[in-house]
Symmetry: C2
């Protein structure tokens, strides 16, 4: 299946307790594309960058068979830039700089060969842009997956509700699920979010793993235990990328396949956090992924108890 990922392609500058970087490659669509490429998915990006964006980054993605035809280059503009500093626990961070630049007037253009994608992965972006993409598809994709964050709940509530209503799967973290639903219990939160549109609700809990809700069914997956988390930037996007890539590969959207997709996304994300930015995820092979999935299986399985 053809997969379209819409989202940022950006520069990040990251500071963690273990070091800091200058401007490096980042952005939701970048991580999603790189994760999808590990599964050799037919993945297309729609995004925007400035004239300052190094051609080598696009070339690197092309070599991984990521279709970047839909990444618009605004010659006289500057690429979206985010700088952040993580606290010691790596679970919280301060945003130091947000320069929207070309993202401010991003008017997504979807190439002909991309507009018929079967799966649309809407990476974290202004919900108005996400809606525009949905409207510009040739036909309604078979599956629409949405990632969003608290910022859009605080600033663009109505537009966000509109895009959520058109979504099949939403990925969101636990605090955001609570904010979106007004419920503390995640079971109740998921129910409320179901009622807003999405049939599948994925709640990401970082080091505590992820939950998948569908009708009365739930699946809980712990995160792989890593000796060190080096840089959490992009983990959620990598997760989403692995998740949709698995669905694109298996061409099924039932609960069983969604569960497995969650496992793939989680295994994929465990790579991203081991190095700065995209450094690790761009080196991952299918064999490495398989090994991580086996570790997840070992970590979580138990035999008959009583």
């Amino acid at each position: 299946m053809k997969l379209l990922s819409v989202g940022t392609v950006a520069f990040d500058a990251i500071e963690t307790p273990f070091g800091k970087t200058d401007k490096i490659l980042g952005g939701a669509a970048t991580y999603i594309g790189l994760a999808a490429s590990v599964l050799e998915t037919d993945v297309h990006l729609v995004s925007v960058v400035g004239g300052d964006f190094p051609d080598e980054y696009l070339k690197m993605m092309e070599r991984k068979n990521i279709n970047v035809e839909g990444v618009e280059i605004v010659k006289d503009g500057k690429t979206f830039f985010w700088a952040g500093k993580y606290h010691n626990d790596l679970n919280t961070r301060d945003t130091l700089v947000t320069e929207l630049n070309v993202l401010e007037n991003f008017d997504p253009k979807i190439p002909e060969n991309t507009a018929d994608a079967d799966i649309l992965m809407l990476g974290n972006l202004h919900p108005g842009v996400q809606l525009a993409v949905l409207e510009r598809m040739k036909k309604r994709p078979k599956l629409v997956v949405l990632d969003t964050m608290n910022f859009w709940m605080n600033h663009t509530w109505d537009l966000l509700m509109e895009v959520i209503a058109k979504t099949d799967v939403i990925t969101i973290n636990d605090e955001e699920a609570r904010q979106l639903s007004g419920e503390y219990s995640l079971v109740k939160a998921a129910k409320k979010i179901h009622s807003l549109g999405p049939q599948y609700v994925i709640i990401k809990k970082g080091e505590h793993g992820a939950l998948l809700f569908h009708e009365a069914k739930v699946f809980a997956l712990p995160a792989l235990l890593l000796e060190d988390v080096f840089d959490p930037t992009g983990a959620g996007d990598t997760f989403a990328g692995g998740f949709v890539a698995h669905l694109a590969k298996h061409e099924k959207f039932d609960f069983q396949t969604m569960k497995n997709a969650l496992v793939v996304g989680s295994a994929m994300a465990s790579f991203t956090v081991e190095k700065f930015g995209t450094e690790k995820i761009k080196e991952v092979t299918p064999q490495m992924l398989k090994e991580r999935i086996n570790r997840l299986k070992q970590l979580t399985s138990f035999e008959e108890v009583l």
Copy 2:
């Protein structure tokens, strides 16, 4: 196998967002005993109460075949009393009252028929008392399981280190594991705690489940998802009770059995939080437990992915 649980038998007064209680039955040994009785374990309690402790509570435990011969009654003393108020998220609480009463001079007396227990579950108590119990056993139990908390790390560090060194399994929450080890990464924390003595390290993460570490092996179990958590009091003790009861029943202490014991403890704890105090756990049948274990299996299992 014979199981001895040493810990408090107490009065609790609890306030949650859903209501409040007067003085009700509480205490670590109480929850451990009640949980163990669900598995029809030969469980003995060693504790102390005052003359104000209702005989009906001891009778109730006796009816469940909990041996309470070792619960000393100090006629002219008052029973340990704790009062606490949970915050809205139920993950944090304020202690309103702590009256040690008879616990202040607790000098544990172990009945003849109890001192040869195979498994010793040291519930959360002053580590000096825990050490005294260990010394008063007829022989070193086959397995010593320790529960403790940050309070003892802050106030009785050296004694705590001494009892930890004599322990086979330690159960501790994530924040306490970090405090005890000085490591933020739970993988590193578990390694350090292993080096203090325990071969098995269990890290409890409340709504996020629990982790079991042994040598290079890890097992991660999410918590059952409950629509509502009503009162978390005693959940950790109930977990410990289910855990040791499973071991006593299966008479094996290998990793596989420990994993299953973690599942039993977790399923057991999911009952306690559904009502105030011991209200729910004392009504649990083996069949109800089995059903919860099946739910945990369903919640966590996935098929071959790639």
